[in-house]
């Protein structure tokens, strides 16, 4: 089943035409029909490339939240061997919004953390739409302790609208849990890598993303407040979410420019939801490469470098200038002509 986003409506029309034509053609070998079909397919492909190379921050927000986008558990299923989920914070409860466990990736054992939004009504309810309570963050801290004890790197798949705003969550110290989780991440003597795979929603995302390396998928967003929340506070009008998404600078490119993230994982044509296996494979590729870089780094340096990185955020910040925007535009033109990479899963899972 395909789900079209609002801005994909023109594409939906063409793809509908294509489907209708395919049915008409059936077994017929009429060459002019076939040619017309190819022309339409080519047109759809070009339109898709065009749309996705020029997504506005608000469109990216929709893509980042796309229900068919690969989620934390999809990455784990494809990339990890022997993944063993672990549960509970040993204090109060198990929080299904945060997935935690140990597994093997490219031969090395590691700890995996991530927010899971769920893929249908039932699983969304179970995972609380990826919005964690204090228990989730305390479980994450438990995992960080484990990782450090057994010298295992940590990989976080970040995908949440934010921490859950509820009575129980507040009662049990939502803010304290997030603060401690960030604090624990910073002092870790093992390497940690975070990838924002969809939505990086404020402190609830950051709790598992204060990492040595932070990456974002091309159409993921990472923001201090959701565009909707920002709009209702600063514009006093939730309908201004589009303007807020523009002003907040939430795209992967923006964050790379601002020095907040270390790199971007390019998504397949039409976004991660149109090439799920491909996207996951590309992320796996990156993780393997990045993890290797920490192989001979001392535990003390891992923690010190991580802290220095975050301590510098706010001191030497580039101001968003017109020159920056021009450079980016030029880069973009270069990109659209470049072919999309694809690597099979087999090469990753030795």
């Amino acid at each position: 089943m395909s789900v079209y986003l609002d801005f994909e409506k023109p594409l939906a029309a063409i793809e509908g035409e294509i489907r209708a034509m395919q049915e008409v053609i059936g077994e017929s070998r009429a060459p002019e029909l076939k040619a017309e079909l190819r022309r339409l397919q080519e047109k759809a492909r070009a339109m898709l490339g065009d749309l996705y190379d020029n997504l506005t921050p608000w469109q990216k927000t929709q893509v980042a939240r796309h229900p068919r986008r690969p989620h934390c558990l999809d990455y784990i299923a494809d990339l990890m061997d022997e993944f063993t989920p672990l549960a509970g914070d040993r204090l109060y409860a198990e929080d299904h919004a945060i997935i935690a466990g140990v597994g093997r990736f490219c031969g090395r054992s590691l700890v995996v953390l991530g927010q899971e939004k769920g893929h249908d009504m039932e699983s969304r309810m179970k995972h609380n739409f990826g919005m964690a309570r204090p228990e989730g963050y305390r479980k994450a801290m438990r995992m960080m302790d484990l990782a450090e004890k057994f010298s295992m790197p940590i990989v976080s798949f970040v995908d949440t609208a934010g921490a859950y705003p509820g009575i129980g969550a507040e009662e049990r110290g939502q803010s304290e849990a997030i603060a401690r989780s960030i604090d624990r991440s910073l002092s870790l003597r093992v390497p940690n890598i975070a990838i924002v795979i969809g939505e990086g929603g404020s402190g609830g995302a950051l709790a598992i993303a204060a990492a040595n390396r932070v990456f974002m998928l091309e159409h993921a967003i990472y923001t201090v407040a959701s565009p909707e929340a920002c709009a209702s506070i600063l514009w006093r009008d939730p309908a201004s979410a589009k303007s807020a998404s523009q002003a907040l600078k939430i795209t992967a490119e923006d964050l790379l420019d601002l020095g907040v993230i270390d790199g971007i994982v390019e998504e397949p044509l039409g976004g991660a939801h149109r090439g799920r296996a491909q996207t996951i494979a590309l992320v796996g590729d990156l993780l393997d490469k990045e993890l290797r870089q920490f192989d001979n780094v001392s535990p003390a340096r891992l923690s010190a470098e991580r802290k220095e990185k975050f301590l510098a955020m706010g001191r030497d910040v580039p101001i968003m200038t017109a020159a920056m925007a021009r450079r980016r535009k030029a880069l973009k033109r270069g990109k659209s002509s470049r072919g999309r990479r694809f690597r099979s899963l087999k090469t990753l899972k030795r």
Binding site: A163, P165, G166, I167, G173, A210, I250, I319
Partner: protein, 304 residues
């Protein structure tokens, strides 16, 4: 250190008090609606004499409360890039900043000073809700980071008085990054075994509670202060029900184990000083006779 030190002497404090001394003589208590004499409110550090309600306290007043009449140094942190996102909502961020600076006379939401709380030397960082809702941006982050290094260099404790609606949205992701940034700075203080105390004033929510506001060695809160991660309005919208009375109040947090004590302003300096003396293992208010007795009866502690 690129601090510019300005010694603020009690006598010239009047200069900074434009804001806290409005023309009218009376003020209505927002809690009990009693008419209060401004002159009395100043003496009581903005605590209602009728019902004990704690009103907003400007940083200069806060320093007067904590440091008494002794002099203190105000610290000027290095400037940070202003408006990196060129942010504009209904107004330009630059204009909002300018207005906030004019209104408060401060550079940004956090003011840092170095003085003595009842003879215990301490660096105190005060967050001012009047400055754009006390929001945490790069400048406030810088003030805290510098405050921490000031404390660490002088080997004195740090007290942060929080009051903030959270991150400064006009600085986008860079304001969110002040959470790990301030936490990273505080780890240095912890490694130096220097006490870090938090005094939570009304209101403290969002990013501030999700970082330096909730990792103190001791959490003290002001009576009636609203403290929480999500604001009450957001929670009500999410769960679609009215919140219980007193939810997220200082007293409620005390009941739920998130703060150590709720202390009215009049008692704050003494308790803070006592805690700091104990953590620093200094002798407090004990009579000489009792100290001597203690010395003869027990072996002296080995440390220090």
């Amino acid at each position: 250190m690129n601090w510019i030190k300005n010694v603020v002497r009690p006598k010239i404090r009047g200069v900074f008090q434009k804001r806290s001394a409005p023309d009218d003589l009376w003020k209505t208590c927002p809690a009990c609606k009693a008419m209060l004499f401004q002159q009395d409110l100043k003496k009581s550090f903005q605590v209602c004499g009728e019902c004990g309600h704690h009103m907003r306290l400007a940083p200069v007043e806060r320093f007067r409360l904590l440091f008494g009449d002794s002099s203190y140094d105000r610290l000027t942190p290095p400037k940070v890039p202003a408006d990196p996102l060129r942010f504009r909502d209904e107004k330009r961020y630059r204009d909002r900043l300018k207005a906030a600076r004019e209104k408060t006379g401060a550079e940004d939401a956090i003011t840092v000073a170095h003085g003595a709380i009842m003879d215990v030397e301490c660096v105190v960082a005060v967050q001012d809700f009047a400055f754009m809702g006390g929001s945490l941006g790069m400048a406030a982050g810088e003030a805290l980071v510098e405050g921490v290094s000031w404390a660490a260099e002088r080997k004195v404790p740090l007290l942060v008085v929080t009051s903030s609606g959270g991150a400064r949205m006009q600085e986008g992701i860079l304001s969110l990054m002040q959470l790990p940034r301030t936490l990273a700075a505080l780890q240095a203080l912890s490694e130096a075994v220097l006490p870090y105390l938090v005094l939570l004033a009304h209101p403290t929510t969002g990013g501030v509670t999700a970082s330096y506001g909730m990792v103190g060695d001791v959490h003290m809160a002001e009576p009636g202060a609203l403290i929480g991660f999500a604001g009450p309005r957001v929670i009500e919208q999410t769960i679609r029900e009215k919140l219980p009375k007193g939810f997220q109040s200082a007293e409620y947090l005390l009941d739920h184990g998130m703060v150590d004590m709720v202390v009215p302003r009049a008692e704050q300096p003494e308790i803070l000083a006592r805690l700091l003396r104990l953590f620093l293992n200094r002798s407090g208010r004990v009579s000489k006779r009792r100290v001597a007795k203690h010395d003869s009866a027990f072996p002296k502690p080995a440390q220090q």
